[in-house]
Assembly symmetry: C2
Homo-oligomer: 123 residues x 2
C-alpha cells in the first residue's frame, strides 16, 4: 500500500455490476490522484463486495495506521446516518488503536454546489 | 425568474421527506450561487414533486428560453441512461423551440474526484 493512511470509498452497492464498477473506478481515480498520501479502496453496504468491514479490515491488514471512510451517497438517509456508522463502529471496536474516521457524505461536501454550478453553466 | 436559462436539478425522490428537502436545499444553494445566470429548481423522478416534466414546464412557463437538466445521481444506472432522457425527450417534443440540454450525471462530473480527495485528505 502507498501510505499509512487508507481511504475507503463506501457506496450502496447495486445489482447492476456496471454501477459497482463505476464506484471501483472512482476509487481507482482517487488512488491515482492521492499517490503516496492515501491508499484508496472501495467498500459496499450491500449487493457487492467487499463489504465495508471487509474493506476496512483489508486496509488495516495492508498496514494502514488510520482509516478514513467516505460515504459515496448524495443524501443523508438511513444508510448514511445509521447503517454505515454501525458497521464502522463494529470494526473500530476490533481495532481500538487504529483511528477510523467517518467523513461526511459526498452530497454535502464543501464545494459540491460550486462543482455542480460549473458543470451547469453554459459555456 | 432570474434569467433566460433555467437549471433543473433532477433527483430520484424519496419516501423520506428529509432527503427530498436536501435536494431542494441544494437547488436553492445553486440558485443563490448562480445569481442572474441561472434560475434553478428541483425535479424528481418519482416519490416526490414536482416531476421532471413539471419542473421543466414550470421553468419554461416562467420565461426560460433554454433549460439545462442536471441528474443528481452518482452512477449511470437505468434512471440516468433511460428514464430521465425519456422524460426530457417528452417535454422537448412539446417545446421544439426551447433547447433542453441533459447534462452528465453528478457522480461523473469533471472535478468530482478532486473534490472527494480534498475532503478525504487529513488536515
Amino acid at each position: 500500500m502507498s501510505g499509512a493512511t487508507a481511504l475507503v470509498l463506501v457506496a450502496h452497492g447495486s445489482r447492476r455490476e456496471a454501477s459497482n464498477a463505476e464506484v471501483r473506478a472512482m476509487a481507482g481515480r482517487l488512488g491515482r490522484l492521492a499517490g503516496e498520501r492515501l491508499a484508496v479502496s472501495a467498500g459496499f453496504l450491500e449487493l457487492a463486495e467487499p463489504s465495508i468491514p471487509e474493506a476496512i479490515e483489508a486496509a488495516i491488514a495492508a498496514g494502514a495506521r488510520e482509516v478514513r471512510v467516505l460515504p459515496w451517497f448524495l443524501s443523508a438517509g438511513r444508510h448514511v446516518s445509521e447503517d454505515i456508522p454501525a458497521q464502522v463502529a463494529t470494526v473500530q471496536a476490533r481495532h481500538p488503536d487504529i483511528p477510523i474516521h467517518l467523513l461526511g457524505h459526498a452530497g454535502a461536501l464543501p464545494g459540491m454546489a460550486e462543482l455542480l454550478l460549473t458543470a451547469a453553466l453554459p459555456e
